[in-house]
């Protein structure tokens, strides 16, 4: 037994001390004592090793230059040395690799960030106006701790992006200088997109960059808004552009989607509020105002049809009925209702009426099934009449007989 244990101990030692040991710790746990930078800059080492650049074998001198084999000043900072680059230098430094498509190909990364950055408000401000308030690469991505974008801790992970933007855009002093509001973050979180992202973990919901772009960040111009929204709301966008409002948008008379919806705390307009929203531009009694009323009533009717079908299915389920057929009908009704929600942006009552009829016929089918069952259920209850009649008659006879025999 002892010998066996010794054998394993020696074996284990041989394995771990062999030079090509596959089980040895990764680079980040090692300290290369021949690398001079960490002698003084050990505080940046831990952060850097966490990041993706270290994963691919980059070291301090790949960005900062200098002589890493030296342990003393000034020789360590000699040669092509960049200590703390300023904002503009940072852009140049990052772009020296990240704008090189040939180098980025292997990582599956795009290489247009610098070109995009130049078009953004941030880039214009920094690179053209030389305004130091504007952010540079490292303000969003951090200088040393740059994580993979798929890493949930990364500054640019979907759930983190709004946090990253908010660092400056909630700073009232900073934003005040440019006449910008600071409520975007709070608005976004409470809006439909924010709720989808944070409450439902729906990562197809857009964050700040989904609408404004990331490196090319800029608010959409009025004519661009419909295209931005239609990236996701494709059918809504198409219906909108086909209708009278599309034309008005093209001529610059209205600001597309934002004429009715708001930007950061975006919400669908409840059916009951449709005509009120129309009323903001169209006076009641005009043909457009009447159209709004008609659309509202059609949408409300369709919505209640679908809700009725939903209730009927719950009722059938609780009663143990097979709801496969009813469920299919309900889904069909719901699909037509969703089509109505998109088609209403075309302001065409005929289309809505036709779709509404389909919603109604499918929903009514479901409700009829439930009603037929409820009627049958009522017949079941009627059975109690003869039961109690016979029971009470029997009891009466027995009581009579009991009195007689007593």
């Amino acid at each position: 037994m002892k010998r066996l244990r010794l054998f394993f101990a020696v074996g284990a030692l041989v394995v771990v001390s062999s030079p090509g040991n596959l089980l040895a710790q990764s680079n980040r746990d090692r300290i290369d004592t021949s690398y001079g930078c960490v002698t003084c800059h050990s505080e940046n080492r831990a952060n850097f090793l966490e990041g993706i650049h270290a994963d691919y074998g980059m070291r301090c001198h790949d960005c900062h230059g200098g002589n890493p084999r030296s342990f003393e000043l000034p020789s360590a900072h000699s040669g092509r040395f960049i200590g703390a680059p300023n904002k503009v230098e940072t852009v140049t430094l990052c772009a020296s690799c990240h704008s090189d498509a040939d180098q980025m190909r292997q990582y599956g990364l795009p290489s247009g960030q610098l070109a995009e950055f130049r078009t953004s408000r941030h880039g214009q401000s920094l690179l053209v106006e030389g305004n130091n308030d504007a952010p540079t690469c490292t303000d969003c991505h951090d200088a040393h701790l740059v994580r993979r974008e798929t890493d949930a801790r990364s500054n640019v992970y979907p759930t983190q992006i709004a946090e990253t933007c908010r660092r400056c855009h909630e700073d009232a002093a900073l934003m005040g200088r440019y006449d910008l509001s600071t409520t975007q973050y709070a608005d976004f979180v409470s809006g439909a997109h924010g709720r989808a992202l944070y409450e439902e973990q729906n990562f197809s919901s857009p964050t700040c960059i989904g609408c404004h772009g990331s490196h090319a960040a800029l608010p959409a111009r009025p004519q661009e808004v419909v295209n931005v929204c239609a990236e996701c709301h494709e059918l809504v966008g198409r219906a909108f552009l086909d209708g009278p409002h599309g034309e008005a948008t093209n001529t610059g008379e209205m600001s597309a989607c934002l004429s009715c919806h708001v930007s950061h705390d975006s919400e669908a307009i409840p059916n009951a509020d449709i005509s009120e929203v129309c009323g903001a531009c169209h006076e009641a009694g005009t043909s457009a105002g009447t159209l709004g009323d008609e659309i509202e009533s059609l949408m409300i009717a369709a919505e209640s049809d679908v809700e009725g079908a939903e209730e009927a299915i719950t009722e059938l389920r609780l009663a143990g009925q097979n709801v496969a057929d009813a469920l299919f009908r309900y889904q069909t009704a719901n699909t037509y209702y969703e089509q109505m929600r998109m088609a209403q942006h075309r302001m065409d009552v005929d289309v809505l009426e036709e779709l509404g009829r389909r919603v109604a016929s499918n929903s009514n089918e479901v409700r009829n099934t439930a009603e037929i069952r409820a009627e049958r259920r009522w017949e079941h209850k009627l059975m109690l009449l003869p039961i109690w009649f016979f029971a009470l008659s029997g009891i009466a006879l027995a009581v009579f007989k009991l009195r007689e025999s007593a």
């Binding site: 300290i31 004592t33 143990g320 097979n322 109690l384 039961i387 109690w388 029971a391 009891i395 007989k401």
Partner: protein, 424 residues
Amino acid sequence: MVKDSDRRRENKDSLRASVGRRVEDLKASTDSSVLGAARFLGLLYGPIDRRLRIDAALKKALDYRLPPHAGWRHAFGGVTYLLFIVQVVSGVLMTFYYRPSAAEAYQSIQHMVTEIPFGWLVRDLHHWTANLLVVAMLLHMLRIFYDAAYKSPRETNWLVGVLLLGMVLAFGATGVLLPWDQWAYWTVTEILGWVEALPIFGGLAAEFLTGDAVVSGATLSRYFALHAVLLPWIVFGLLTFHFLLVRRHGVAPSPVKKHEGEGMKFYPQHLLRSFILSVLVLAIVFSLASLFPRPFAPLADPAVPPETIVPTWGLVSVSLTAIKYLGAWGLPLAGLVGLTMILLPLTDRNPDLRPGKRVGSLLIAFGLLAMFMVFWAAGSGEQALVDIARPPEVVDSSEVDLNPIRLPNVGPTPPAAGTPQGGE
């Protein structure tokens, strides 16, 4: 021709005479209903009677006299038995359609309730009778307690009664899984979790009942076998013994006062009163079954626990309340109540039957009943699953070795802070 018509008239006359005789016979019979009908059929006074003397046996049974103090409150035992028979009949009818497998159980009940004539009635009768059975049984026990009928010489029958109560509990515990919907599945899963936590035999019992790593089709088969095959026979055996002992000892004497007189005859008074009560009870059960059907929860899904479950049976409500407020102590407490009831006749040796002299034990009995009713009420309706789920065991994460191949830290060790490396 004349002869023929004469013969026909003769036949008609003789037929009329024979019918008239039998009608007269029926009228003349002393007892116009049961005995008369039997006599009319020629059975009891016919060839069978000559050999078996059924007549005498029936007469003896009908002439049996109940003690003078026997009243309506003595009826709960009989009502319990009647409800048990309803359970047997409706249960057997349901086995014709029910399929005890995870893949088919839920659908077979859906089919039974929606497609089979009166299938809904049979199922809801079974459901409601189960609840009323418990009520009737508790009232029966309470009467026994009040009358001190558990005292000598009836201790054995008290014990048999307690065993029968245990069997009703077992029926409920096994029957509750059979609908195989979310409520059924998660009720059983959570309760088995607590059974597993019981010391000594808990793990073994839970393993035997589950028959798998989680509640599954294997569990359903076991529960069905217990519910529909094993338990009924045990109950039939115990009931036979119970009734034999009742017959042997007779109805317990009244603890309050001596009654004069001969007492009620079994026939017709007692039989008529039983009839009245049975019809009333059955009409009530039918009404409950048609007015308040048990709703269907979604099909059981072992992967998705529901937010809430609805206990559909009184004893499940009681167990869930016990678990919700007493946690791991809930089930042992229920066991303690059972043990108290078993031991009571052995400890309560006070021969006095008067309620005033047995305040202590009566208080215990009423206290237990009140507790039961409060627990039932508290545990009915929707229950949040988190309230009744057994909390996961807290594991000290430092004791869990996620990497079984732990290697010694090789390579250069990090420098202590502030230690200069090379240079100055």
